[in-house]
Every structure is written in C-alpha cells, then in structure tokens.
Amino acid sequence: MGGLLTEAFLSSLFTGAIVAAIPMLLAGLGEQMSEKAGVLNIGIEGMMLMGAYMGFLVAFKTESLWLGFLGGILGGVLVAIVMAVLCVRLGLNQIVIGIGLTLGVEGLTALLHHFQFSRTYPRLPAPERLNIPGLTDLPVIGPSLFGRHLIVYLALIAVAVLAYLYRRTNLGMTLRAAGERPAALDVAGGNVLGIRVFATLFTGGMAGLGGAYLANIGAGLFIPFMTGGAGFIGIVLAMLARGRPLWVLIGSLIFGAALSMTTALQVAGSNIPTDVIQMLPFAAVMLVLVLFGRRAKLPSALGAAYERGAR
C-alpha cells in the first residue's frame, strides 16, 4: 500500500472523480428542483438514459458536441413531458410512473441503438478541452481540475445560479411553496401545477444533459443501460443535500471519487481484490446515508399529487 499515493494514482483518481461526478451533479441538481416543488422524480434514470442516447446520436450525426448536448437536453425533456402529464396534470402515482418510465426508456434506447448501429459501438472523437494557461500545467491536479471540457465549468456555475435562485427569487420561493404546502400557494394565486410541470421538465433537461455528458465526454460512445444508476444516485444526492445546491456538488464529488477509486486502484496495481474495489461506490452510498440520511428533511408535500379543494 506504500506506493499507492503516486502521481499516476492521484491523477487518475481526480480525473475519474470529476468525469463520474458531473452526470450525477447534473442529475442531482435537476432532481433537487423537482423535489423542492413536490415531485419525486424516479423517472430521472430514464431521462438520463434518453439524454445519453439522443445526445450521442445527435453528436455522432452532426459531429458537434454542443448540438449533442442540446439533443441530450431534448431527450430528457421528452421523457419528462410524459412524467409531467401523467403525474402532475393527471395526478397519478409518481413512484409507479417513474419506475415505469425508467424501465421503458431502458428498453427503448437499447432497441433504437440496435436498429441504428446493429452491434457496433462507434466512438466520438476525443472532446476538445478548455486549457487554462498555467493552471493546466500544475502537476497532479492540473490536467484533472483545469483541463476539462467547458460543460464542466458550466455545471459548476449552475450550482451557484441555482443557489441564488432558490434563496433570492420569487421562482425559488414558488418552488418551495409548491413542495411544502401547495394549497397555500394555490389560494395565494400561484400556479401549483404550472410550477411543478416546469420543475419536472427542468429535471428532465438536466438529467438529459448529464446523460449526454456521460456518453459524449465520459465514454465517447453509447452503450445500452450505460447510466448504471447514476440517475438514482442523483435522487440520493438531492435528498441528502436538503435543498442546497452546493451540497449536491460536494456529494457528487464524494460519490465520483468512490467510483473512480475503482479504476484508480487498478491503475495503481493495488492487491485489493477487484470485487471489493467495485463495491466501493455502493458502500459509500450506504455509509453516507447512515451518517447523514436520518436527518434529511424532505418537503412536506413531496410525492403527493395536488388536487384543489380536496381534504
């Protein structure tokens, strides 16, 4: 174990942590908004996968990563529209519909991918990186922290923007009211269903973007079922963050580090069995849940459809 903290190990750990963290961060930020508004979005895994598929397809066909990201957002929103209609407008059970959507999209994307690419897995060219002069040349942390694609920095900016939005604007307040006591928002003249639809679509967009990042930047290709629970971890992150975007970021980095530990430990040639290493991210989830999950405060009306005048 003495030779574990080598430059190669740390460098691949940091790089991997960020690559793994960004999709979870985006999904977590999205889920956080819909949870604030009272919609428990279990379909986020499906939205993310649709984002990964559409994002890859568009990027592959147009050879533009940015159009790919747009395609990813669109893919996530498409799935979210179904969720919004069924769960917000019609008031169906959010958990059942969410699971159904995830399973449905898993099948659908695998099928479409099979039609289009048969059994081949074409790759995208390596993405261009934003090189920040000076910082990128730093040893160990330089390439991993400062040589990323622009989208990484946009995701970090989104954390700050959302934090401001929740704290200082009417929109943030309306979201919180819709999740905490929708009837109060309704009689105050607010639009409960409208804000919930918006939050659900936002979640879809963010999850789709996260999926597109996963496919286009993280892997450079699309494989069916490739999200592998990243969307579900987003739900955990949103729950643990208690409404704070910054905590979603911290949480996603912790989970990202645990995930990248799997590859980093193998790079470092450690003699810990691979099975144990691959267990790490899930052990981390459980550990964090045990440590912090108990005191997590969720909005009062989370998961409950709103019907005016019902008692």
């Binding site: 200082r168 009417n170 307040m173 309306t174 009211a177 309704d186 009689v187 105050a188 005016r308 005048g309």
Partner: protein, 533 residues
Amino acid sequence: MAVATDKLNDLSPETGAGVIGVHGVTKRFPGVVAVDNVSLKFHPGEVHVLLGENGAGKSTLVGILSGLQEPDEGYLSLNGEKARLASPSASLDAGISTVFQHSMLVPTLTVLENLTLGAPWYQRPPRAQIAARMDELKREFALSLPLDAITGELSLGQQQQIEIARALLRDSKVLILDEATSMLTPQGAQELGERMQQLVKSGLAVIFITHKLAEAYRYGNRISVLKQGALAGEMGPEELKGMTEDEAVDEIVRLMFGREAGQTSTDHRASTARDQIALKVENLSTQGDADVMGLHDISLSLRAGEIVGIAGIDGNGQKQLAEAMAGQRALTSGRVELHGEDITGASVAQRRRKGLRYLTDDRLSEGSVGAFPISENTVLKDIGQPPFWVNGIERPNRIAEHARELIRTFSVRTPGEQTPIGRLSGGNIQKVLLGRELSGDARVVVFNKPTYGLDLQNIDASRQRIAEIAGRGLGVVLISTDLDELMALSDRIAVMEGGRIRGVVENDGTGEALRLRIGRMMAGEEEHKQATA
C-alpha cells in the same frame, strides 16, 4: 378597480348593488348537501357575519367565494354582473381575499416570502416596498410582523395577522375571515373586531364567519344565519342597531336552533372534589427552543372529582404541560404521580392504561388518521387490546359496534362509521376524539381546548360531560382559552404565562373581579403571588 370602489362607496349600504352576490347557489358533496339554494349580497362598508353551527355550510360558501369550489347550481355576481370564480387566482383578481380557518401559509418560508407568495415568478421580491407598506399597516391597523422570521415559528395569532396583511397588501375589496377568532385570545378577538370596523370604514366589504353569537353582534353590521346549508334568516344593520346584545342573541339563537335556548349557562358548577389526590405534578420542567416554549418548575395537584382549569393566552406552554403529563414530552426535571404512584418514567401507553387520558387540541394531525374510517379512529389508542383485538386478530364487528355507539352518544354527524374521519367537519372529528378518550377506564383526563370549534349545542353537551366525569370522581385538567368555560366548570384555575404557572385561584364564582384578576395574570402582570396550590 379604484373607480368601482369609489362608486360603490357613494351608495348607501342598504340600497347598494352589493359588491358580490350569491344567487341561488347549491353545492353537493357525496352524501351531503353542503349549501342549499343560498342567496346573499355583500356590501362595501359592512361587516357581514355568516353565522351557523358546524356543518351549516359556512366553509363551503367560503370555498365557493374564494374559487376553491364551483357551485353545482346558481351563480355569483360581481358589481351586479354575473361572474365565475373558477380558481383562487380568479377570486383574488376580483378583489376577494380569504383568510382561511386553517392557516394557508407555507411554514418554512419567511413572513416576507409568504406576503409575496403568488407573485409572478420572474419578479424579485419587492422587499423595500413591502416593508414600507407594512409600516403603514402598522399605523393604521396595528399589524406588526417580523418580516424575516420563519412563519412556522410564529404563534397562530401572528400567522393570522400575516394573512390579513397579505389581503391588505393586495388592495382587496372584499376580505373573508373564516372562523378567524377561534385561535385568538379574547383580547385578540376584540382587536380583530376593531380592525374589521376600521377596514370597512376604508371601504372594504368584510365577510366574517363565526359560530360565536356574541361576536356576531359585537363586530357585525349585518348577520346572515345558515342552518344545515340553507339560509335561515338575515338581520340588517337597522334591525341590529335597534336591539340590545341580549335581544340580538335571542333572535339569532331562535334562527339557528329554531327554539329558545337560554343564554349559555355561566352558572358555577358545584364542586365534587374529594380529598384523595388524583394527579400530582412537582417541579416539572421541559426543554424549550425557538419553536416551542419550555416549562419552568410547574407544580400542580389535582384531587379526584376536581376540575382544575388552566387559563392562559394560547401558546404559553399549556400544550407542553398537557403533553408532559401525558408522557409525550420529555422532562428535564420534576415528577408526575397518578393516585400516589410515580409515573414519571411511564410511557404514553402505560399512562393511558393506568387511566391517564389526554385529549389533544390538534385533532387533525395528532388526534386522528384522516384516511382511516371513524371506526378505526375510535380504537386508535387501543390497537392490539381486547375486546377489539383478540390474540392479535382484529375484530371489525366489535370495533364497528363500538364506533356506532360512540357516534350515537356523541351525536357525530356522519353518513356512517366507515366514513373516513378526514371527511367530517372539525367539530365532528372533535366529538369522535372526545368519545375515544372518555371510553374505557379513565381516572384522570387532560382536556386541551375540548370545545374549541364546536357549535353551541355541542359545547354545552361537552361541558356537561366534563362536569359529569368529574362528578364520577375522575380528576380533570381543563386547558382552555375560553375564560367563561373555565369559570363555569373549574374548582380552581391555574394561570399560565411564559411556561410558568403565575398563580392558582379558587374559582369562587365572584365573576367580574376574578375575571380581571385572571386576565392580569394572563398578561404576566401579577407574578408569583401564589406560587403553588
């Protein structure tokens, strides 16, 4: 909108077209006709009181005027024109603001945020502007609110002020107050009454919903009485001016009950106290925090057959005291004895089995499970106990039989014992809970505001029952904010203020003098003259 208001002000209230009209409105719910062909007109410059028992249709009418429900038959009119209020925002746009019986504020938001709730999402909260308007309201209507406090941490009275302030900030033409005084102290209700008169002088129409007769006369300019969903009668301003309070109350009672019911008896109950100590609380203290007031060094003893009243302004530790006695709240020090047995360490269920019963005032969330049928709610505190469960198996027929008996005895108005309790009106839920706590082998009963929200007949019946169980030799702790109730029933009255007992007085029925003395203690002015009893 300002133009319309001015025009209406010129019309005298008697001949004016009325700012809102209700025309032949009927609203049905499964099994019940909640509002039955009601026609009403509300005029600017008047406090229009809607008076009726629980379930008379007052709240449904409020729901229709505030856009939560639409009438099945009939229509509404605004300034003489037929109008439809299809949503709460349509109602707000029409200048109608409603302060609901149950708080319609988001507890986790600040006061300022609740005041701006419902504003378009793209706007910034206009903090400075609202602070300035609040200063005005403070001068005009004595509404004073901490803008940055978390709403859920404020008292119910303050939360109501937020809702009134919100209506005023919106420049409403009509203000609906649904059971607005039920959570206020007598002084608070008095202030609200004066506030309503100021509001109507500035040109508003105020619709004040209540079931308290004296309030209707004191604060109202016009009174409409509802009875089982239908309009039973109306008394206009001229008619009311020509009457004394007693005459008006007699007339209202005649309209409401169709018979001459005497003034609610304020006769002092003869004491049935015995020598034996039933419940003894010594130096009891609990932890307080920003949300909940702590208790400090409370000592109280209760004899069998005695009723000890706990007076005080709402939120001065009465609920915490009740919970501490029932075992629902951890003590930091002190001890509790039931018939000489130390029960300080006993659990809630153990205390209940030993005969210590607690009737909560929070009937919706703590007292009942809204989605469960009435029958299961009646045995909620006896789950697993015979005769309703035998060897762990539920006996639905016995539970149903028990529930039907309770529904009969306490005249609960319901289609049947299988109806989910959440569908009942507040007063009827309270009756079920009252029945649940009085059943079985009770020795000491702690009542927290037992008659709050009940109609006159049921208040009388409940009070008689409380007197009866004291007469059977049970000890009764009666927490109430209604001083009349305490003075009618109690042997002694302990006054709580700031989490302490400020004094205990013998209720000798000296009337006005005693009332003033208790009032002074409630306000915290007469401290520690008699520390214990």
